[in-house]
């Protein structure tokens, strides 16, 4: 593999012209002409790979986040991963969303539909509005996170949970209830802004 190394390390001064000419054009030696060195080198490399750890992640059983950090850049659950949405509840169990419709406006995929309504009287004076309808079409959603970014109330967040397959399209349209219950137990930190 010596000549391979030589070639690999000439990049610093290799300004394109004639690094190969100095050491003889690659593949022109008599040995190279027989193809045998290339075959042997290839076999050596593939054999080395044969014995190395494998990159495959057995997805449903394990995820990239289970891998040790030596192997992948991600070794732990990535809090920034943009997965399915949740609607956050406040301390009293009410949805935090006040139906300001900023997420609907910010969404580049136009997948959010909200109808506002006045909050029930017993919610007190601090809560005037709430969403009557909050629908998120997960099939249209591109998981860009703009809704979370736009939310001035920390009401909608993207969780690192990736979506599960469903058998009908309708199931992928999440209503308010589903968004409120979706992955609610998981502690989803708020994505940092700056």
């Amino acid at each position: 593999m010596g000549n391979v190394h030589d070639h690999a390390h000439d990049h610093g001064h290799d300004h394109g012209h004639g690094a190969e000419e100095e050491e003889g054009a690659p593949g022109t030696t008599l040995a190279d002409r027989t193809y045998i060195p290339a075959v042997m080198r290839g076999i050596k490399l593939t054999l080395a790979r044969f014995l190395q750890p494998k990159a495959t992640v057995q997805y449903p059983e394990e995820s990239v986040y289970d891998r040790g950090s030596d192997d992948r850049a991600i070794g732990t659950q990535n809090p920034r991963l943009r997965g399915e949405h949740i609607l956050v509840k406040d301390e009293q169990g009410r949805e935090k969303c006040v139906a300001c419709l900023l997420c609907m406006a910010a969404c580049p995929a136009l997948c959010i539909y909200i109808e506002p309504e006045a909050a029930p009287a017993d919610w007190g004076p601090d809560r005037e509005r709430r969403p009557k309808v909050f629908e998120l079409d997960m099939l249209r959603c591109i998981y860009c996170g703009y809704c979370e970014e736009a939310c001035p109330c920390d009401a909608i967040r993207l969780t690192p949970k990736l979506y599960q397959p469903t058998t009908s399209r309708l199931e992928r349209v999440y209503d308010k209830q589903r968004l409120l219950e979706n992955n609610q137990d998981a502690q989803v930190p708020q994505r940092p802004r700056k």
Binding site: V39, I43, R49, F50, K54, A55, T56
Partner: protein, 377 residues
């Protein structure tokens, strides 16, 4: 019982055995190929299709069952080992699509012609000793199906028919990519039969016979059992090996299929069981060619200290068969290994290599062999 009856029965048994084993090597080979390529590429390969034989804890007395963790208790075969079966089932249930512009007769004939001659040619391969005394009854069984004296030539003649299947399939598909694949296959076959034959000639000259058993016997009895032609005729062996890759349409010579260029080559338009038959034929051809290579250059079923070339015991015969199988598998794996390592030749380069490099080399080798043999004689 007269000898011919015994021989007739034995031939039938041998035929069943050879075809059965060859057909069973194919799924094994497919599995190995997938696994080896996966491991080389940093993947795991097929590991989902298993035969789960139930919970082995139920073999234990009830009081001991809890001691074994559930995860350990489920007995599985080698992970993914049933993948070829799953593939076969899948292919069997796939829709058979026949292109509207296909020439139906050729289209249906193609896969058959690709498969049958290859399976037939296996008849000439000696898969064990030729001197097994059947359970001491005095009936000497030759462990090959057809004990023809012209085995090598016959084998060579019949196996070459396989390309007609590819040509017929490619032409009969009535489509452009398969046509190109078929033309490439025919040209490639012609180009590489020549050096292959010439290399074989050198081997035949060295051995002095065209009988396949004679080839093995010669190798097993000279140079202390290691008189394999790969040592006596290294250049011929190399040429034969390279030509073998080309004959089998394996990388770096897989031009008739060449996915990035011809989509699927001659089998682009095939689906379902017809495709499976092509697939099977291709792998059978690999087995055939590897058997031939083993027989001619790697000493066939012989191995010093393991197989006695003229032994008559049943154990010896069995050992010879296993040695033969092991050698085939080694060569097959080599073929797989090369396939996943190298890039593909271009059409003109392939021709260049065949006609301008390998044919002269093989000729020269033949001449040198002749001279050496003449001088030795």
């Amino acid at each position: 019982m007269s000898d011919w009856v015994v021989q007739a029965i034995a031939t039938a048994v041998k035929a069943g055995l050879v075809i059965g084993i060859a057909m069973n090597i194919v799924p094994l080979l497919i599995y190995l190929e997938r696994k080896i390529s996966a491991y080389m590429q940093g993947r795991i390969g097929p590991n989902r299709v298993n035969l789960v034989l139930g919970d082995v804890r139920y073999l234990l007395p009830p009081s001991m069952r809890d001691a074994v963790p559930a995860s350990l208790s489920r007995f599985k075969l080698i992970p993914g080992s049933l993948q070829p079966l799953a593939d076969a089932v899948k292919l069997a249930f796939k829709e058979e699509i026949v292109p509207a512009s296909a020439d139906k007769v050729l289209y249906y004939l193609g896969p058959l012609v690709a498969f049958v001659p290859v399976a037939t040619a296996l008849a000439f391969i000696p898969f064990g000793t030729g001197t097994w005394d059947l359970f001491g009854t005095g009936h000497v069984i030759d462990l090959r199906i057809a004990s023809a004296d012209v085995g090598v030539l016959g084998l060579f003649a019949i196996s070459s028919l396989g390309v007609y299947g590819i040509a017929a399939g490619g032409w009969g598909s009535g489509s452009k990519f398969p046509l190109m694949g078929a033309v490439r296959a025919s040209a490639q076959m012609i180009s590489y039969e020549v050096p292959m034959g010439l290399a074989l000639l050198a081997a035949i000259a060295t051995v002095g016979s065209v009988d396949t058993q004679a080839f093995v016997y010669e190798q097993a009895t000279t140079w202390g059992g290691m008189g394999w032609l790969v040592f006596k005729q290294p250049l011929a062996a190399l040429i034969f090996l390279v030509a073998m890759f080309a004959e089998n349409n394996r990388l770096p010579f897989d031009l008739p299929e060449a996915e990035p260029e011809l989509v699927g080559g001659y089998h682009t338009e095939y689906s379902g069981l017809k495709f499976a038959l092509f697939f099977l034929g291709e792998y059978m051809a690999m087995i055939l060619m590897c058997s031939l290579f083993v027989t001619i250059f790697l000493g066939g079923w012989s191995l010093p200290f393991v197989v006695d070339p003229s032994g008559t015991s049943g154990l010896n015969a069995l050992a010879s068969g296993l040695v033969f199988l092991a050698k085939i598998m080694l060569v097959l794996n080599f073929q797989v290994w090369i396939r996943w390592t190298l890039p593909r030749f271009r059409y003109d380069q392939l021709m260049h290599l065949g006609w301008k490099v390998m044919v002269p080399l093989a000729l020269a080798n033949l001449v040198v062999t002749a001279i050496v043999l003449h001088l030795a004689a």
